[in-house]
Amino acid sequence: MVEVRLLGVGEPKQKRELRLPGWLTSYLQATPLALVLGAFLLLPILMIVTVSFWDYDFAQMYPDFVTFNYTETLGSWVTWKTYLNTLKYAFLVWAITLFIGFWVAYFLAFHIRTAAMQSVLFLICTVPFLTSNIIRMISWIPVLGRNGLVNSALVGSGVVSQPIEWLLYSDFAVALAMVHLYTLFMVTPIFNTMMRIDRSLVEAARDAGASGWQILTNVIIPLSKPGMAIGTIFVVTLVMADFSTVQVMSGGQSASVALMMKNQMSLLQYPAAAANAVVLLIIVLLMVSAILRVVDIRKEL
């Protein structure tokens, strides 16, 4: 007897699985992110743009279409001075963090031989950045103050006769604290890029007779540029947005755009603050898009 059996008959039925088309799955997976950013990033920014054209008095805002929030802000020399001051901080802190960040990353990537040691040292650099910014800021007060560590050491050793006054509550203190707060944002991307430089390129350069300095300037620096660009985006945007460091470390003697906004907000001058916000946002986005011309973030991740 020949048993005839049709294929598939009598075999256990395949478990039914709900298969969605790929594009639909992607949309469903991306929806939560889009919703959160839509509700808490896009809508608020649209709101700010709208409000920047509204009228206001001491108590509330009135929907309107007026431009004096902009003309008042942009027509005052105080605003211009504040913007210049903020840009000055951004440039200073950027230059210093780039210098420190590059050499720290270079040391970790090219001079530390074992991966375990690399991780440990990198972690040592990272941990402070996961603690409170404000605490790290005020930790400079006992160091830099009039009776602080630096001044007592200097006076005690007879280098200076009077405590140095400009250590705390000055532009110096602001820049120092910002470098302290933001350097990791430069170290990490540069380190990340350097770790992906093919080591045989360095060897080839050495075999071809390049000196250590030539290897650095002709191989490593050009190949680390994407990391520097990403670090620059972080540092510049963080400094441009900073108000607390400027407020605490300058002792109220210096101003930044965000601090100006914050003061307007505490006086309930929301439309004026909104106009400032729009100008600041445009400047920051222009800076970032200029940097993004140099580097494709998606490729560098």
Binding site: L28, A30, F40, V127, P142, G212
Partner: protein
Amino acid sequence: MYSEKRSREFYLLAVFFALFVLFLYGPLSAILILSFQGPNGGLTFPLNGLSLHWFFNLFERQAVGDFGGSFRRSLALGLMVTVVTVLVSLLAGLAFRRKFIGATPLFYLSVASLVVPSIIISLGIGVLFSQLGLQPAWYSSGFGAHLTWTLPFGVLIMFAIFNRFSPSYEEAARDLGATSWQSFRHVVLPMILPSLIGVGLFGFTLSYDEFARTLMTSGTYNTLPLEIYGMTTNVTTPVLYALGTVTTVFSFLVIAGTLALIIGINRRRSQG
């Protein structure tokens, strides 16, 4: 490429690195030491005796604001942010593995979320809530504000992970008859688990320390960083340092615990 003998460059850079580490930790340790200042001691060195006076002071309501309450709020908010950040970034990371229309704008929107100044987001959410007639609170508007800061980090990390993730593991699972859920649950998830924990750590610490975005969005009750920020202007005793020490030690514990967890997972994997 390395000669056995360390070059002069190495020693120069090693000194530079050591100075950098000193620069990072020096001021922080000054605060740790000064928080044990005696009852009559001031905000600067020298130490005027050693005591736990300022730590006890911390728990008296009149000395500082609402320390206990603000700590609990920051903790709860941090945990909420952690869970949502991990879930949403994971989903978005999975989504970005395929090409879909709108992927590029969504990616750049995440980057924008990172570069838009915090205070602008704070102002925007604050004004938006008041115009909608909603009461801002740390668990609603503050929560959303924190997510705009933690999500881009999470998404970028997930993006980087899936960039390096070979699809051949899932193909093998599918060839063996696994459903897409099974291959995710038993193949992909265990492989990316340490990174997910890392995303969670980032989410928690960023939220726990965040204050620029919380400024206009926390409503009636302050989070801990806002409380500390308020204290910088009106508290002139070492109680400020005691608070700094307590929250820094807490951060260190969270970081150490998370790292131990990641290392433990990796170790068990390499044994298994």
